[in-house]
């Protein structure tokens, strides 16, 4: 009797488990390493974050970090910035920049930052993308916003044309939108100044990223 231990065939279970693991691995995207910790306020909205965003991160000290979720467009914007501020970067560095996550440095400091190993980058104290409320059009943040807006528009037009050419459905909501992720403790006037720069670049529509909060019942 002791010989007949109940053995269970676990093969189907393993099959299922690995199927699910593969599914979740492929569908989920990892959060990019963030150079700053930002704790956004919460709200009761149920609107999802757009698929493609130009992300403006503002931390509690008012430092501004920028990122673009579309790597191809991000490269194009960086090339525009290199032209505007006369900074030289190799094609390899441009590629690196596209995958580097949010960056809060002035243009001149970006090549040196990209030289570093990924782990060493986190230790760099970034001063934030410089902006100036008096001389807005000369500031780097204004140029980032302006170039991104133009490139985002081009990207949208290009994909629309491609879709109509091939007779495919085109998702109009899937264009690069401007999202702001700011720390709840940031002074609102600081944020207003940042947004002022974007408004100067004719960016008016913002998605403010917030944490989720339960909706109250009447």
């Amino acid at each position: 009797m002791p010989r007949s231990t109940p053995s269970l065939d676990m093969t189907p279970m393993v099959d299922l488990a690995f199927l699910l693991v593969t599914f979740f691995m492929l569908t989920s995207s990892f959060r990019a390493p963030e150079p700053v910790f930002v704790d956004p306020p919460s709200s009761t909205t149920e609107m999802q974050i757009p698929k493609q965003v130009f992300l403006v991160t503002v931390d509690a000290d008012g430092r501004v970090f920028i990122d673009l979720t579309n790597p191809a467009v991000k490269e194009l914007v960086l090339k525009d910035m290199m032209r505007d501020f006369k900074v030289q970067m190799s094609a390899e560095e441009v590629k690196k920049f596209a995958g580097a996550g949010p960056i809060g440095l002035k243009m001149e400091a970006i090549p040196a930052y990209l030289e570093l190993e990924v782990n060493a980058r986190i230790k760099v104290q970034q001063s934030g993308v410089p902006y100036d409320t008096l001389n807005i059009k000369k500031s780097q943040l204004y140029h980032w916003a302006y170039n991104s807006r133009l490139r985002a528009h081009d990207d949208f037009k290009y994909r629309e044309a491609e879709a109509t050419k091939r007779g495919l459905p085109f998702d109009k909501e899937n264009y690069i939108q401007f999202a702001v992720k700011a720390d709840g403790n940031t002074k609102y006037n600081v944020l207003k100044n940042v947004i002022q720069v974007f408004r100067e670049a004719k960016v008016k529509n913002f998605q403010m990223i917030t944490g989720l909060e339960a909706k109250p019942k009447d």
């Binding site: 053995s7 676990m10 093969t11 279970m13 393993v14 488990a17 690995f18 699910l20 693991v21 979740f24 691995m25 569908t27 989920s28 959060r31 956004p40 306020p41 709200s43 009761t44 909205t45 149920e46 609107m47 999802q48 974050i49 757009p50 999202a179 992720k181 700011a182 720390d183 709840g184 403790n185 940031t186 002074k187 609102y188 006037n189 944020l191 207003k192 947004i195 002022q196 408004r199 100067e200 004719k202 008016k204 529509n205 913002f206 998605q207 403010m208 990223i209 917030t210 944490g211 989720l212 909060e213 909706k215 109250p216």
Partner: protein, 211 residues
């Protein structure tokens, strides 16, 4: 391998032993690992979905336009003032020496109560429309659109105007909280004032905090 065979003794016996050994692999650790990974991916992928609140800012105006622009009149509205330390003040009507400033807070019985009380006409209208919508068939788009149009008209006709002003000390969290409160209370017309507080409003807050 050779050693095992030599230890096994007789050739015939060795063969029999090899046959008896089962080819089953213990899959329990594999299942453990699979489910561990599964839980990890499930938890990390679904809970990190942030939500967004849309804010639309007007295009920047020239100084010429700014001079010609009239200050919004708030005869029938309320003004909310945000300042440091999560403090909120509000007053009704136009700003003058007679304006009565009152302190409130971000809780359910604070700001929300004030907004709901002032927005009762619109809220009851909206609730009526919602009841009508529930009675209508989902497929009856003509009727649905008619009610949607009525909702928009009611929002346009709403008399309540809420102004939001802040000073240097107010935080972003305060502003988002108030914006959220506007949405909960379905305020149709609200404006965040770009210039922030007027000097008189700052004075009123000073007086209020001292008393």
């Amino acid at each position: 391998m050779a050693e095992i065979q030599s230890n096994g003794g007789g050739g015939g016996g060795g063969k029999k032993r090899a046959k008896k050994q089962s080819t089953r692999v213990d899959m329990t650790p594999l299942v453990d690992l699979a489910f561990l990974l599964l839980t990890f991916f499930v938890l990390t992928s679904t809970f990190s979905q942030p939500k967004v609140l849309r804010m639309i800012f007007p295009e920047k105006l020239d100084e010429k336009d700014l001079k010609n622009m009239k200050q919004p009149e708030v005869k029938d509205g309320i003004t909310i003032l945000l300042t440091g330390n999560d403090k909120v003040y509000w007053y009704r009507g136009a700003l003058n020496d007679k304006a009565v400033l009152e302190e409130t807070d971000y809780t359910k019985n604070g700001l929300r109560k004030i907004l709901v009380e002032n927005n009762l006409t619109l809220l009851t209208q909206l609730r009526d429309f919602e009841k009508q919508l529930n009675k209508i068939d989902d497929k009856d788009t003509a009727k649905r659109n008619a009610i949607d149009a009525k909702v928009k008209q009611a929002q346009r006709d709403s008399k309540l105007v809420v102004l939001l002003k802040n000073d240097d000390k107010a935080s972003y969290r305060n502003v988002i909280d108030v914006m959220d409160e506007f949405m909960i209370c379905q305020i149709a017309k609200y404006f965040a004032v770009d210039e922030g507080m007027a000097p008189l409003e700052k004075k009123l807050i000073d007086l209020k905090t001292k008393s």
